[in-house]
Symmetry: C2
Subunit: 348 residues, 2 copies
DNA sequence: GATTAGCACTCTATCCTATCGAGTGCCAAC
DNA sequence: GTTGGCACTCGATAGGATAGAGTGCTAATC
């Protein structure tokens, strides 16, 4: 059954009021606050239907209504209108995202921090998914006998490195040879097409004794694989403690406990990203129970995708209470994402 | 006035009981729990004196006593006895500090994580203070026109790098020349003796046009300076939410708010380290109001110093409620510190 | 002088009860 | 379909009584 116009307005009003007051909203206060041209009794009927449809619910029998997850979902999908940020807000964000950094990573951390400050919630960003980027350079530098540094420059302007152990006997010259061979043969290959086999065959013909060579190649391979590992940056966890939504210590603890396992959060974001279907949606929004992470039942999870290059992207977004100003938060994320896209052009 | 023996025992017992029960302890329960050979009235007299001396205090008139900051201090300084961890606990920690990592940083993060798990509190570690370590290698790698990577290998086995911007026109060969000159002239110099002037004079005579050269040298200098910047690793903030000591949301928020500014915490640890006088104390302990960070009035801050080399060290420790099992926590920190010292020998 | 028993007093925590008020559902009338 | 009216529900709040743990003080005792 589709919602008639007034029911849409009622749901809209309930969400708005609940978000701003944090109190269950009743028919009477709805009338007071909004210009409905009907009586409270009529609204009560509408509200009963909305409840029947699962869009709103009562905390207890004699209380007002609050939006259910489904209600927020409806609100987000069809009811709300997104406004641009005010010039002042825009400026505030622009100012804080410092464009003088030298590495993409710093830029992303910067944006995450800014987003958390702007929204007052937890913000998070995933590092760029580098599987589709390709090797532009790979150098193995001898640090000391038995130890070397693998430095990789990827398309997308990202530099990665890893300290690895190598056989003690290998000379500087031998390492350079191997390094050169790998670079020559793997140059231009996307990371996700590089396997241990590829690396091993790339290293052939360097006139280094087989078992030694093999170990170095393995380490080089491991370094390359590590380069496309995802990192997550989380910011502002403590801000959740100030929200009435998490005033019960138990909820707060569960939430922060889950967020402290950043690997798990990263995995979830990744999963969300992969299950994205139509792909024309620029935002991924998960509300309440839609989130399969423990302790986030009262949260909404909103992310956007930033693009470093055509094929290399990552996510940035917010975890806040589901009782949030969706339109505002979404435009904040959107603005930060766009700023990020813009700044990233300096790195490619 | 020095404490007579029984008063010491009374204070000891009060701290022990309060730590384990989280309830103000009264004369009667003190008698029940411990084998004092006197009556509760006598203990009441003692307690009145201890209170007069500022070692214990009453939350309200008709409640038991809790230790004051000064009381905890007395306890920590003169009363408690430190026991070794049980073999089982030792094994638990040994097991978790993975020795297969390739970089000191990972080892330290690892230890921090382990310490937080073992104590149930917030743990933290400072990166090694590298000012006294010296340059073993410095290479500038061309990434692309206008962009280079400065890679530094320091004594103490630490590798640092930084992406820097360089003039677009510089060729690979020119960069290598500069890189070689810096390395040759600064090799073996402790980081804190390297200034912009040192770097500039090291780069002389490379036959690269003056203004271009100067920019590269400046960037190299900045990279070197960045290498000895201190990092701090904080872990387990969420664990504080489970403690009854922070069951009031306000306190919890203040605490986590302060901890979220890791730079500030790092500064404080550094300050503590610098103000260390006798230097024969292996632990730095700050209790309650002794800590000048906002929101940590109910906490104690305990750190030990780990050593990477003779001249390069850092700190590792715990922030917990001042109502903590000091002897246990101290031996946990001590054990982790020693394990760290041992593992670090693999890196130098 | 130190220790002890006894006692009056204090203050919090807890439970119970009464009351208030916002909100609901439903019905009959418009 | 809309509205006014009304009985009912239930959480939140406040007041009051009570229990209990603990204290300080005094006078007697070792």
């Amino acid at each position: 059954m589709p919602l008639d116009n007034r029911k849409k307005e009622v749901l809209h009003a309930i969400v708005d009021d609940y978000v701003s007051t944090n109190e269950p909203v009743g028919s009477k206060s709805l009338i007071e606050r909004h210009n409905f041209q009907v009586s409270s009794a009529t609204l009560r009927n509408d509200m009963a239907e909305l409840e029947h449809m699962g869009l709103i619910e009562k905390p207890h029998t004699s209380a007002g209504r609050i939006p259910s997850d489904k209600g927020y979902r409806e609100y987000v999908n069809s009811l709300m209108t997104i406004e641009e940020l005010s010039p002042k807000e825009q400026l505030e964000i622009e100012k804080r995202i410092d464009s003088s950094v030298n590495e993409v990573t710093d830029l992303i951390k910067n944006a995450t921090h800014t987003l958390s400050e702007a929204t007052g919630f937890v913000s998070l960003a995933m590092s760029p998914r580098l599987k589709k980027s390709f090797l532009k350079q790979l150098k193995i530098l001898m640090i000391e006998p038995g130890k070397a540094l693998v430095v990789m420059v990827l398309s997308a302007g990202v530099v990665k490195d890893k300290v690895v152990r190598i056989p003690n006997f290998l000379s500087d010259a031998q390492i350079m040879k191997i390094s050169g061979a790998i670079e020559k043969n793997l140059m231009g290959k996307p990371l996700d097409e590089i396997t241990l086999v590829t690396v091993e065959s790339a290293g052939k013909g360097t006139a280094v004794p087989e078992p030694l060579l093999k170990q170095v190649l393995y380490e080089a391979y491991a370094a390359i694989k590590q380069a496309d590992e995802l990192n997550i940056y989380l910011e502002g966890e403590h801000r959740m403690l100030g929200l009435p939504d998490f005033s019960s210590m138990g909820r707060a603890r569960d939430l922060l406990g889950t967020l402290s396992d950043s690997g798990m959060v990263a995995g979830y974001v990744n999963e969300m990203e992969n299950s994205k279907q139509g792909a024309d949606d620029s935002f991924m929004i998960r509300i309440g129970q839609e989130i399969t992470l423990e302790g986030l039942d009262d949260c909404s999870f909103i992310t956007a995708t930033y693009n470093l290059t055509d094929s290399v992207s990552g996510n940035i977004g917010v975890i806040g209470p589901k009782r949030m100003l969706y339109s505002k938060v979404i435009s904040q994320i959107d603005f930060v994402k766009k700023k990020l896209d813009k700044e990233m052009r300096n790195f490619i």
